[in-house]
């Protein structure tokens, strides 16, 4: 009797959310239908003029604000001067030369040798050969000066960003208030797309190499700081205690015990800094035109696909090489320190290499072609690419065009219209209800305020455009990524291939994905969506694979023992347990998709990214920044909802 009462109670418990969801759906449907005008479109005269305020505030800050002794302008000038110092050096070494001393830049042959040696020293023979060939490629294909401009910026940005990240991370582990402030700030920063950083930087530092550097560094700091915090937190307490018992002062403890013990995590952070830097360096060329990024952007906008491909490949080559070098740094763990004999051998080798480098400079001095390959000695594949693309267009584009137009007219346009007609209040309420069901009142209010904010500052329509592009892309990402992840988990031979592919794709800066898409589909919603999918699919594949691999073996055996078929195993045993991981992958896919959506503004989508782009030349900081924050608001709402749900699922499954 009690048993049946129990089961009745539990049944009513499991029905309750269903009733709530159903009720909410009905209510919101009614709301959608009967909502008055002000609840559909935020009345134009009521829009909070936050944009203007922010713009004016930034103008005041950049031009007039003063700390008494010095103005903000003085400060930014100082920062500029300090930062341009190292940049002058690397620029001089790599491509400009030092005219005041009558010195030329390092010859390409020397730089190629140096990079080869660095690769060899860190990652062994294969990496050495790869870096040598990779950098030689840059020279032989006539991209040396541009590539060196980019490389020089990377060389200066990475240490600066890493150092700032390290310091902030240390600060956060020492001071609770600092940690709370920083972690909230990083949350917003990491949800704000690359583009949105450019506006505020431009107003303080203008256009040029230094602002580019600053934008890039700011973008790359949070992951480093996060890794530092994580690394310092996870140092085993015994190690710290043994440092204390050895009589370390607090400073010695930090620099000689904690940080070295956290080395691995710190290097992971460094790797992320490098990757973020490369991703951002390209985009930052919007406020400081030089180097590969600028060339790529320019040829994309001119639809010179052949050139775009070459520049794209060059960026990818640099990205992959730097990634592999820093990965090798993480993986390095020698069994023992070098003996005296080995040290001597090392010294001999370095002397020989030094002589080799010196003689390469000498050779380059004698043979100018080794300094900078003259135009007629470099290759370019651009014409061939252009030819084949032209051929492709002639033969293929007819069909592709049909495909594109049909998909656009019959599927995408109706969906887009649906999104664009979403009334703000009922939509916000619907999302808030979802928040209520998943995580309670706080989540509901957060979600409502974040989305309401977008409507209140008058970005609802472009935000819906962003939402439309992003959701289409994310849905397809899931539809494609899930099966690929499942395949990867079930077929060991496919796994390595898929994961290697994911690794490589992840090192591509976002711009690159525009190239093939424009080639095949020109511009338009379909092109944008496909570019977003290509960029954002990796996490969902990875986390699906990861989640499935983590299903404990004894559960699997239990499933088999129960006589599940393969399909049943997957659907009833494996996937449900992998759900929390998959959801985490989904949040990352969403964030990346939002980033890429803003970038597709470059090929004409009229979303929040477009607002940021338009704000740039107009120096309308408020418009750009708030559009960026609106994207962050969408991202944060989505991630919070999904993360809360994932955590709950995890707890229900007893995994947390």
């Amino acid at each position: 009797m009690t048993a049946s009462a129990d089961s009745a109670a539990s049944r009513s418990k499991s029905i309750l959310p269903g009733i709530l969801v159903g009720g909410a759906a009905v209510v919101s449907l009614i709301l959608f239908a009967v909502a008055p005008d002000w609840a559909r479109q935020w009345p134009a005269e009521q829009i909070v003029p936050l944009r203007d305020w922010v713009t004016r505030f930034f103008q005041w800050l950049a031009n007039e604000a003063s700390f008494g002794l010095f103005t903000v302008k003085d400060l930014t000038r100082l920062v500029s001067d300090i930062l341009s110092g190292p940049l002058t050096i690397t620029d001089g070494l790599l491509h400009k030369g030092f005219s005041q001393f009558g010195l030329a830049a390092l010859p390409w042959i020397t730089v190629v040798l140096i990079m080869g040696i660095v690769g060899y020293a860190i990652g062994g023979g294969r990496l050495g050969i790869a870096t040598t060939l990779g950098f030689a490629y840059l020279a032989v294909f006539g991209m040396w000066p541009d590539a060196m401009k980019t490389f020089s910026l990377v060389l200066v940005t990475v240490p600066i960003a890493a150092l700032i990240g390290l310091m902030l991370g240390i600060l956060a582990t020492r001071n609770q208030l600092a940690e709370r402030v920083l972690s909230a700030l990083f949350d917003v920063m990491q949800a704000t797309p690359h583009l949105a950083y450019l506006g505020p930087i431009a107003i303080f530092f203008g256009f040029g190499a230094v602002p580019r550097l600053i934008a890039t560094a700011i973008f790359a700091v949070p992951p480093m700081a996060r890794c530092t915090i994580l690394g310092l937190r996870t140092v085993a307490p015994e190690i710290i205690e043994s440092g204390l018992m050895s009589g370390c002062t607090p400073r010695q403890l930090l620099w000689r015990v904690q940080l070295p013990a956290a080395q691995r995590t710190l290097l992971v952070g460094l790797n992320q800094v490098i990757m973020q830097t490369l991703a951002m360096v390209v985009i930052a060329s919007l406020i400081g035109a030089s180097g590969l990024g600028h060339r790529l952007l320019f040829s994309l906008q001119q639809l010179q696909m052949g050139k775009a491909i070459e520049y794209g490949v060059a960026i990818v080559v640099i990205a992959i090489l730097l990634d592999r070098i820093s990965q090798a740094l993480i993986a390095r763990n020698p069994a023992r320190a070098p003996t005296e004999a080995e040290k001597a051998a090392l010294l001999r080798t370095s002397v020989i290499l030094g002589i080799l480098l010196a003689s390469s400079i000498l050779v380059a001095w004698l043979v100018p072609a080794f300094r900078l390959l003259p135009k007629d000695m470099t290759f370019t594949t651009a014409p061939y690419w252009d030819q084949s693309i032209r051929w492709l267009s002639r033969t293929l584009f007819v069909y592709l065009e049909f495909f594109r137009d049909d998909v656009t007219t019959y599927i995408l346009v109706p969906i887009r219209n649906l999104f664009l007609s979403l009334p703000w209040l009922p939509t916000c309420l619907l999302v808030a209800t979802a928040g209520l069901l998943i995580g309670g009142w706080r989540l509901a209010v957060t979600a409502f305020l974040l989305l309401g904010f977008i409507a209140a500052i008058g970005f609802w329509v472009p935000a819906m455009m962003t939402l439309y592009l992003t959701s289409m892309a994310v849905i397809i990402c899931v539809l494609l990524g899930l099966p690929i992840g499942i395949c990867a988990a079930h077929r060991p031979r496919f796994t390595r291939f898929a994961l290697a592919l994911c690794d490589t794709l992840q090192t591509f800066p976002s711009f690159i994905y525009l190239i093939p898409v424009i080639m095949l589909f020109r511009v338009g919603d379909l092109a944008s969506i496909i570019a977003i999918i290509a960029y954002a699919m990796v996490p969902i594949i990875r986390y699906t694979h990861l989640g499935l691999m983590r299903v404990p073996a004894n559960t699997l055996e239990a499933g088999i023992a129960c006589g599940c078929t393969g399909r049943q195993m997957l659907l009833k045993v494996e996937l449900p347990q992998a759900v929390p991981e998959i959801l985490l992958g989904l949040t990352q896919t969403i964030t990346m998709a939002l980033f890429m959506t803003s970038i597709t503004a470059l090929i004409g989508s009229r979303d929040l990214g477009q607002e940021i782009l338009k704000a740039l030349p107009a120096v309308d900081t408020g418009r750009g920044l708030l559009a960026g924050l609106s994207i962050a608001a969408i991202g944060i709402t989505a991630t919070r909802l999904i993360e809360t749900w994932a955590v709950r699922r995890k707890r229900e499954l007893g995994l947390a």
Partner: protein
């Protein structure tokens, strides 16, 4: 005249939980086990007081989780005790400034950790030298000392390896060598030999005792192994749920355990090696044989004599005066049966 106290702790408490201080205050600094359970606090060390004299070896024993490591950490002030005082050479280190603590640890204290606590980025030699390194001692001098110590713990030839390449026992020995680098007065050892195989363990114990005799360090030594405890201890402290149950010479623990918990600990102890003649002797009667044994000899040592004699054996003290006699049946009963004090 008794030796001076090197370390003493009085009414030491270490409470883990949300707000340990006010929990202590609410229960007027003496919460009961029931209080801990009800309010979900952990009493890792509860009201522990004892002294360790200079040159003494105090062994701390207890089941896993009984608070041995926590007690050691409080003594070294790696963690701050919730209440109570710890004196080191008469100075209350719970009130020491950070600078004083650093100074103390640089010259007076050494510690071996249960989980080794080696620095992963440093080689064996660099790990051993690390305490000297942070003091700014020159490289040649500290490495000379480091090589000496590596030799001592049997790691010669491994100096350039990183800890991750070493077995657990080898890592443990690096930890031991490191703790000796600064020639500390006081040596805290948290299960220092637990990761070693029996042969090396035996060697290290011997080496340890030799060192102790030569250097006369004051030692607090945590172990799970009663046999080891008996081998090295002057006195043994038994802990249970954070509290000190009994503190005394091994013989006292075996002969009159304070409660069943202690009795359980000492049950499989080698009595013959621990209990001395004095404990089992009875007043002299006329029937004693001419053979005599000394009052402080261990039963194992006198067993052949006593068992081989057909009458009771005379017991003499340091001044060769006869103070009692030992009966054969009694000796057999004590050495080979469970009941210690019938």
């Amino acid at each position: 005249m008794s030796k001076p106290n090197k370390i003493s702790c009085r009414n030491l408490w270490k409470v883990y939980g949300k707000d340990a201080q006010s929990f202590m205050a609410v229960h007027s600094n003496a919460p009961s086990l029931e209080d801990f359970r009800r309010e979900q606090y952990v009493g890792a060390v509860r009201n522990v007081s004892f002294e360790v004299t200079t040159g003494e070896i105090l062994v701390v024993m207890g089941l896993s989780g009984s608070g041995k490591s926590t007690l050691l950490r409080c003594l070294a002030r790696l963690i701050d005790a919730t209440s109570g005082a710890v004196c080191f050479d008469g100075q209350d280190i719970t009130k020491a400034t950070p600078e004083e603590l650093i100074e103390l640890r640089r010259h007076k204290m050494g510690m071996v950790f249960q989980n080794f606590g080696l620095l992963p980025h440093k080689t064996v030699l660099q790990n051993i030298c690390f305490p000297l390194d942070v003091q700014g001692i020159s490289r040649t001098r500290r490495e000379e000392r480091g090589m000496e110590l590596a030799q001592l713990v049997g790691l010669a030839g491994k100096e350039n390896f990183y800890p991750r390449e070493l077995s657990g026992g080898q890592q443990q020995r690096v930890g031991i060598a490191r703790s000796l680098a600064v020639e500390p007065d006081v040596w805290f050892l948290d299960e220092p030999f637990s990761a070693l195989d029996p042969l090396i363990r035996r060697d290290m114990q011997d080496e340890f005792l030799r060192l102790q005799r030569a250097l006369n360090k004051t030692i607090v030594f945590v172990t799970h192994d009663f046999e080891e405890a008996v081998r090295v201890a002057d006195r043994i402290a038994i802990m249970k749920d954070g509290a000190l149950v009994q503190l005394g010479r091994p013989e006292e623990l075996v002969w009159c355990p304070a409660d069943p918990y202690v009795a359980e600990f000492t049950r499989n102890a080698p009595r013959g090696k621990i209990i001395s003649v004095g404990q089992i002797m009875v007043p002299t009667s006329a029937a004693a044989s001419e053979i005599s044994i000394r009052i402080d000899q261990k039963l194992d040592d006198v067993a052949p004599l006593v068992l081989g004699s057909d009458r009771s054996v005379k017991v003499i003290d340091h001044d060769d005066r006869v103070v009692g006699q030992v009966e054969r049946d009694r000796l057999i009963a004590v050495m080979f049966s469970d009941g210690a004090r019938q």
